[in-house]
Point group: C2
Chain length 321, copies 2
């Protein structure tokens, strides 16, 4: 089952279901007006949503042709982002000669959640000197999760899987990280691909609480990376349990994987510029690649074994904000 | 003008106005159903709110007698907490022999905002071993703040002033801070005193973008601290501008001062246990005071020059969650 949100002038948009191939949609507002509402009443609304999804799979619905797709949750009560691909951290530490992060717990920060940008929205940044970078990630959207939920229990509370661009301003990020307080200025609004997908609909693309798909990234239409999501050192259920250790999570909490990164980076590239620069620093002593400029575009998309889009594409440009 | 939220079984409660002495209230749901709604339509609703506040000040309204007061915003789209009292940081660094935080920018982290505890609600914590601590703070609630707003402009976008207990789990806080990612597990839901007050109603208690009032803290009914809020190194308008450098803030954003702390800590005490422990470590080589136990109570209240309560009291106990 694929869910999406169409713009309707209201903050949460309106809920629609999308056909498995992402080509057609059907309004679901008769079942739940918004995705947030559906998540809060999931057990009650899921049968009707599944029935509508079956009609779509059988060929029903209206062609998606230029409808304004929002982020599945244009705003959420909570966004917690992990850093679960160890090779990303290893490269950054080698490049910047910084000590390894000492922790035996998953890494996680809380980011802004009152606005998630639409997948084709312009991305406003005040200054190119901030070091504008994309970060390709996968994420999950949870049911309500009680405090103290185990990873085993959390696996059953993952309602949807999403694909995220966690926009980062690198010049601001290092100084903020060194305060220990995490990131505020360095992490403006994320963008989210248009389709939120139930884990069962991912088939072999969802295993061991991980998204087993490559995330293709293009920067100004040139291939930049194609890293796989299956090598997370910490699974999504473990990230959810970590987040819920001392707090209850509300339905609609979004939890991210951190930048998708593989040890075979020479073959698969990277899903953020900072990591490519780190590799250049390690291999050549200095970074060669610059960060994004106003007018630059980034495209991110995951495709299944059949070549079909899974979450739809993020495809957007950076503009002066 | 004092605003408050009464419990009505819904997530955002219902908006009421409270008399200057905090003794009487009048329902304001005819003007705006919730405080969040009022903040989103402030210019439109302020005249009617002010007219109702004048009736209350003239003796109207109903006695507040046991009504269930929620946090003014039981949930908010964003909570950003500063650390604007330098003596708090100085003491913590001396006690833990940690290097000074290298930054010339205000310190700030993003915390959970989907739940703010009512001022008398029990505070659930899973384990006493987490180092349960209170942190007495002041905070502001903003209008919508455009990205790039200056501190001068931000001063006019502060709608309300609040008093906050930023609950902290100290055993978890140090390791999370050392990751650079900020706090997730160490910062469960904050509590907020019942009355949100417009800056003009604070009189001499609001000057230079700071709350010029002492914050009285009692732990299990024994005086613990009475630190003044006027010595913030960074004002609230400066904190708002810092938060808005690379993002627009939605109406209803809550921005905190960090732990209220004074250089005269020998006279005025502290507003968190960690700071008292730091002083003990500096003066005696080891901490003497333990953290909170289940069943312990904390009370926090700010009083004006006339001795009257300003924000109402936070008065609550810690329970096993």
């Amino acid at each position: 089952m694929k869910l999406a949100t169409l713009a309707n002038g209201r903050p949460d948009g309106r809920l629609v279901l999308v056909s498995p191939d992402g080509e057609r949609y059907a309004g679901a507002e008769g079942i739940a007006p918004t995705l947030q509402d559906a998540l809060e009443r999931w057990d009650e609304v899921e049968p009707a949503l599944r029935a509508l999804a079956a009609e779509l799979a059988a060929g029903g619905g209206t062609p998606l042709a230029g409808e304004a797709l929002e982020a599945p949750l244009p705003r959420a009560w909570q966004w917690l982002d992990g850093s679960a691909f160890p090779n990303h951290g290893v490269l950054m530490q080698m490049a910047y000669n910084s000590p390894p992060i000492e922790t035996d717990l998953p890494l996680m920060y809380q980011g802004m959640s009152h606005c998630f940008l639409a997948p084709t929205a312009d991305v406003p940044v005040p200054d190119e000197a901030h070091g504008i970078d994309f970060e390709g990630e996968f994420g999950v959207i949870t049911a309500a999760v009680p405090m103290g939920t185990s990873a085993e229990e959390a696996a059953g509370l993952i309602r949807l899987v999403v694909q995220i661009n966690d926009w980062s301003l690198r010049t601001l990020a290092g100084p903020e990280m060194r305060t220990g307080f995490g990131w505020v200025q360095a992490k403006p609004a994320c963008s989210v691909a248009p389709f939120a997908v139930t884990p069962d609909a991912l088939g072999e693309g969802w295993s061991r609480g991980r998204v087993c798909l490559p995330l293709e990234v293009q920067w100004n239409e040139a291939p930049f990376g194609r890293a796989r999501g299956d090598v997370m050192a910490v699974s999504f259920p473990e990230l959810v349990a970590h987040a819920a250790r001392t707090r209850a999570l509300p339905a609609g909490t979004i939890i991210g994987s951190g930048t998708v990164a593989n040890v075979e980076y020479r073959d698969v590239g990277s899903t953020c510029i900072a990591e490519r620069r780190a590799i250049e620093m390690i291999e050549h002593g200095a970074p060669v690649t610059g960060f994004m400029r106003f007018g630059d575009r980034v495209r991110m998309e995951a495709r299944g074994a059949d070549g079909a889009t899974v979450f739809g594409a993020i495809d957007q440009q950076v503009v002066k904000g």
